[in-house]
């Protein structure tokens, strides 16, 4: 079924209210318009509302049913929507601890996401930097950081990238005591990363104290590919913000995020949300819809490019994580 190398794309960004769900929906609709079969997953386990944006008021089945084993196959939680080629998996609604899935629940979920019958799966992540959220983001071969030009969003987007990267490193090297001691010299994981100001410093310490792991860490950094997407752009000054994040990531995290594009601010979106109409479905002329159409083409193109992290290598968190 799949003709793409990257099938699962996560959309995260740390801050709430920057349009993660709307962009996920818009990208899904734009991909469907290009003839692609898409499944949208509301990964906001606790504050799910993607279904509301899709005009579904009362979802009869959600991720919660799967996590609590009321439904065996994730595929059986797909809700068909107004758009023929888009299936929706609704998020859990903050009940029975679904917002904090256990390790085995996460493994079961991640294993089945890749097997879903779609060419593209878009995972709309919630706000914040909880470990579960970072794990889902890190497990996706396609990672999109969404942010708005607001200063708070800019800071949260960088914070999200940094948290996700350090989480990735600490999971990858969870059994390597030397690396964990360098990362968290003060004690347990979950506390602030201590002693390490930049990833370059981390590399230098690893080279000195655990030279055997140096190449592995370098490879992890080289493989950690992320895309930046800025939403609600109102001016040329706003367009400079992705470069700010890119530059800080390069200097302090040894990462080289790629700019995926931008979506201009468009009041049409607010009107669509308030009337529970699907955006950009049925929109004739809209700046945001045009931008989303371009982004969908870019996603298809990027999915086919060879990336070092393939979709087949979805790894599960190594051990139980608490947010």
């Amino acid at each position: 079924m799949s003709d793409s190398k990257i099938k699962l794309w996560s959309i995260g960004g740390g801050k709430g209210g920057i349009g993660k769900s709307l962009i996920s929906l818009g990208l899904g609709i734009s991909l469907a318009r290009l003839g692609k079969k898409v499944i949208l997953i509301d990964g906001d386990l606790g504050g799910a509302n993607l279904h509301t944006l899709m005009g579904v008021r009362y979802p009869h089945v959600t991720l919660e049913h799967f996590l609590l084993k009321k439904v065996n196959r994730l595929e059986d939680t797909i809700i068909q929507t107004q758009v023929e080629d888009i299936g929706l998996i609704c998020g859990a609604d903050d009940l029975l601890g679904a917002a904090n899935p256990t390790y085995s629940q996460k493994i079961r979920l991640l294993n089945q996401i890749e097997a879903l019958p779609a060419q593209y799966i878009l995972l709309d992540l919630g706000a914040g930097t909880a470990f579960n959220l970072l794990d889902f983001f890190n497990c996706s071969p396609g990672r999109i950081i969404l942010f708005s030009p607001q200063t708070t969003s800019l800071q949260n987007a960088y914070g999200f990238i940094k948290s996700a990267l350090y989480r990735k490193i600490s999971r990858e090297f969870s059994k390597d005591e030397e690396i964990i001691n360098i990362l968290y010299p003060g004690g347990e994981e979950g506390e602030e990363v201590g002693g390490i100001g930049t990833v370059s410093e981390l590399l230098a310490q690893v080279e000195e104290k655990a030279p055997g792991q140096y190449d592995r860490l370098c490879r992890l950094l080289a493989d950690y590919h992320i895309y930046l997407l800025i939403n609600m752009v109102k001016s040329n000054t706003d367009l400079k913000t992705p470069e700010i994040i890119r530059s800080v990531c390069t200097d302090f995290l040894n990462l080289h995020p790629e700019l995926m594009g931008h979506v201009p601010y468009d009041p049409v979106i607010e009107a669509a949300v308030n009337s529970m109409k699907l955006f950009p479905w049925g929109q004739k002329k809209s700046k945001a819809a045009d931008a989303l159409a371009h982004l969908a083409v870019k996603i298809i193109k990027e999915s086919r490019l060879p990336h070092s992290t393939s979709q087949a290598q979805v790894e599960a968190p190594a051990e139980e994580a608490t947010a």
Binding site: N236, K240, T241, I244, F252
Partner: protein, 207 residues
């Protein structure tokens, strides 16, 4: 020595400087200038938030608000201090124990250029380097480039000059003078309109 005189300040990063590197000088009308060691706690939107614990400052803290002052900092911990003039816009006193206290002041800087903010940022103790890098880049992105500021001014000047030339050549005159007068008026009008357009775009972008 003003900040603008110093072009080659070092680009140190991350190290927390000795607070004594930062001195706040407060000028008082008819009285001697006071100076206190200060710690820069925050710097945003051209306002430096300072902490002062000098007993003398604590005694006179109610007189400090509204006074002109300047921050004197050393670019690399030594050398000639650089001055950042400004005005104290907020003072709050916090009691600590029986006889100790702390003043929190906001000094609005007269010239909060990106370079000035970068240098002052270097004096904020215990700042995460990456977050500092983020805000420095953000400050730079918000600063209009010199070329962008100068272009509307030049365009407006040329426009007004052409309009003036057209007026001298008198559009109501005869022969080639009339033709040139109209051409000057047309070009001058376009120049002034261009200036207005560029200024409007600048305001729109910065908002």
């Amino acid at each position: 020595m003003s900040f603008d005189d110093q072009h080659n300040h070092p680009k140190t990063r991350g190290s927390s400087r000795d607070p004594s590197d930062v001195i706040l000088q407060i000028g008082r009308p008819g009285k001697a200038t006071r100076q206190f060691p200060a710690v820069i706690r925050n710097l945003t939107a051209g306002v430096a938030s300072l902490e002062v614990s000098s007993p003398l400052a604590l005694m006179e803290w109610e007189d400090l608000k509204g006074q002109g002052g300047r921050l004197r900092v050393r670019a690399n911990g030594n050398g000639e201090p650089i001055n950042f003039p400004g005005k104290v816009v907020r003072v709050r006193h916090f009691a600590r124990g029986r006889d100790k206290g702390l003043l929190s002041l906001d000094l609005i800087l007269e010239q909060p250029t990106a370079a000035a903010q970068k240098l002052l940022n270097e004096h904020i103790p215990n700042r995460p380097r990456d977050i500092q890098g983020l805000w420095e880049r953000w400050d730079q992105a918000r600063q209009p480039s010199a070329q962008r500021v100068a272009l509307p001014i030049r365009l407006g000047f040329v426009g007004v000059t052409l309009l003036f030339c057209g007026l001298i050549m008198h559009p109501g005159g005869a022969g080639p003078h009339q033709l040139f007068a109209w051409i000057f008026w047309l070009m001058g009008t376009l120049g002034v309109l261009g200036q207005i357009l560029l200024l409007w775009r600048g305001v729109k972008d910065s908002s």
